[in-house]
Amino acid sequence: MDGKIQDYITFFLTGRLDGGSLMPMDPVYRPAAFGPYSDLTSLRYDFPLVLNRADAGRALQSLSHLVDDAVADLADDPERDRIARHGYAIEMDLRRELDVSGSGDFHELWHAASDRLSKEREDAIKDSADLLWNLFNTEGIILDAERSVPFRAVRHLWSAVQADKAKDFRRKTERLLLKLRGILNAEVANSATGRAPEALRAGVGAGFTNAFDFTGMSKILMDSKPISALSDGRRQRIRDLIEVLEGQKFFSLGNEEAATYEFAFECSSEALKAYKERHAEAVSLTRALKMAELEAAGEYRERMHDRIFEGFGERGLGFEDLAELPDYLVCAEADELDAQESSGIVEMLSAGIPVKIIVRTDDALQPSPVAEGHANLGGRSKSLVDLAIGLADVFVLQAGASQLFKERDGLVRGLSYTGPSLFSVYSGSGKESKGIPAYLASAAATESRVFPSLTYDPSAGHDWSSRMSVGNNPSPEDDWPDHRLRCQNSSLQAETVSAPFTPADLMATDARYFNRFAIVPDGADDEGLVPLNDLKDFELEGLPEEVPYIMLVGEDNRLRKAVVDLRTLTEVRRCLAMWHSLQELGGIHNSHAERLLAKERSERALDVTVSEAPLTVAVTVGETATAEPEEVEDAIAEPVGDDPFIETARCTSCDECIQINGKMFAYDENKQAYIADPDAGTFRQLVEAAEGCQVSIIHTGKPRNPNEPGIEDLIKRAEDFQ
């Protein structure tokens, strides 16, 4: 075997750099796919984000989208192109500014950027800036991709959702309080006190006290006073309800001085403690809301409702019951999670507590704590997310920070979800990925499927594919999105190199894993090397003939190959297998469905004519079979023998027959007549009723007593009504 290839295989199997055919990894090399992104500030992408002070649907905005939408709104403006150019310039300037400062007030920074540019270039920029600003209709903090983004963005959306809840609660509670107080006030107004001369005088106002005879008025009103007053029980109940609604501390009712509870916490144990302390109050408020609703509608019935509300909440409250109250927010750092905090999170998620937990991962490539030197791809997030999904009624969303804008609807859905939710977000700002901007690091983790985007929404349906979705990932159908790099080869010919971004590429950005890569020196040929992408099914079954490589790029912008060791290849394959099962759960490449489809196809191909014929027959049989009973049910009752009958469905409830004999004729549950008892009257009455019935639906049948006086004549008259 060629000595060079021996060196490759030795490195692949052991990670040792023997021989001299390979060079150690150097921090100057970055994954080739990073090539075009060396300066992010010159590109347009989702970041910076704007935490807009608006309702949840508009609370998270992206600067570049704001500018694009505003420009689109200017479709009819003759100056549109110029304004757009100014807008892009300000956007770029702002992005550069934020690269340094991180975040700031959007209004201030936008106009500062426009001031700077208008000084440097042309004055008109300022006008464009103002025009675009008005179209944004947005205000708040603008921030670049940085470590705090996951917490700030989710917390901001959480606040927006809570603000909507607070608005609903306030509206409802104010309405209920108004109604409840109205009931008490009405009682006073109707009482002897309310109608006493002094009360009437007080109601009229100072200017007219001499214009009326309040004593006389009071006397008249006293006489017409309603006799019913509230029962003592109801009055007390209404007072108690008012007290609970006014005294609650869950929401502010517009009175700024009244203290309200805090619902955002740094750790799960604090949140859990607060939840437990307030539980009794939460139950009593929920109960009061339901009771007050019934009271206000005049539908409270002591007989049945007392019992329900006495035992209210004894067996805990459901998510739906608590949905009106604020949700707890816990912001936790995945890398800091100790056993106690992790179990606290799990307890909250599984105990039916309305909590929204955001876990931020800074290190997506944590070395495994158990197996020395192994990488724990996806970090702690993966196990937490798996566990939460296993609980079945937890809403789960995982995403890289770079995906946050794209995931905004999912975030709002999770925050509005009735029940616990877990958001796991990778910030891209780990200590180990120094030098790589957070946005790029997080996008790379998403692309390599080390930290894929996923949403598990228990309210979306009953099966996996409706609940799980992975569609927000780049190229969700593929193993990895493909990057096509245009470059020049050694003979200065332009060529396109395909470079999918794999977990190995991601690891090549992290100093802890540099020893897993070895650089192939310039000038070496491709013998014994194969792109890692082609070894996805690799099993070590004997001495390998080729070893995997990935593409890196140095500071000189030249592509280099780096051999990848076996440990890394194994981890890449494990990560890919996990991605495949996610795809399958999310309804992409469902192996079961694909197998069935293949089977179906092959069976269909066998014999089409035979399988179709019996099918047609089955349909015809089924149709006639169902048609029959329907007809029977709806047909008008036909005479059965000689008994009298009424076409009840056509009866107009006119009372005519009932007036003749209320025992023979009676109304059914729809107030339509039928013959209740043919023997409860005479044949004469039957005939008279039939003649009197304006819609002629009474059928007399044959006389039951042939000896009835005048029967001959009656039978003749009845001939028309058979």
Binding site: D321, R650, T652, S653, D655, E669, N670
Partner: protein
Amino acid sequence: MMDSGHSISPSECLLRMYEEHHEIEDYQKGVPRWCTGCGDNAILAAIQRLCRDEGLLPEKTVFVSGIGCSSRLPHYMNTYGFHGIHGRALPVAEGVKLARPELSVFVNTGDGDCCSIGAAHWIHAVRYNMNMTMMLHDNQIYGLTKMQASPTSPIGLKSNTTPRGSYLEALNPLTVTLGISNVSFVAQVVDWIPEVLYQVISAAYHHKGFSFVRIIQRCPEWLPKLMEPWLHDPQRVLMLHHEDGVEISPAVAKVYTRMEEHDPSDMNRAREIASSIDPIPTGILYRNEEVPCYEDVRLDGRLRTASLVKQGLEAEFDKFTVWPDASGQA
């Protein structure tokens, strides 16, 4: 539990279990003083059936009427009711609805009550399009005052006010209603086909907006022969049916075989059908769910709290206040 997307809590479920249920008799009050055979009985029965089937709470339901035999209906309903003054049922009902939008409001009126003395209110009620159901009991005569011609009496009808027969062509309540802006629901039924009567009143109740239902009603006391040709010849009734309108059961279809499929969103065809007097078209002529309701446009959803009322009053008073120390302003 009805809609699969939304689940409810056990306590909510328990509350629903205790909701009240009523039978038809629970909506009945007193014994109607109408003549036996009067078509008003059929209308009352259909209304009571609707109340039971929709589970309407008696204390959340109001029947408003004017004056006439037909206007006695609220007396026979064990719900809230307002037997008002001649021709003024609609303004009263509108006031009820504005003050208490959560109530189900029905209006029962006669051809004299609605089409003569109350005609102005009728036009404006259609235009206001408030969410309520109006039933015009059209017996083509003043019944209560013992047989005077009404605007809908057929030309030539001999009555106490028209001993030589009435001179004018009858007013057509359907074409009039269809011509008013904001019209959103127009239907016609005859009192003697109870199933269709019920279906149409039910559709009118479910329509969000002002539902106008003209019911051709028999008055056996004063006009015993008037409707006879139609009663005895089912061919003289035209059954309008449509998947968005009335669906005719096989039992009814067996007797009333003259049918037309009519889409209630088709205003032009509705107008043509409305002008037919013989055969009598029955069913939903026109429906438009898009027309806004006055109470929705008018009420802004703000609670009328004491402070809001005070604020409004202060603002008004301020317009007339002269500030003694600000001499420049007045």
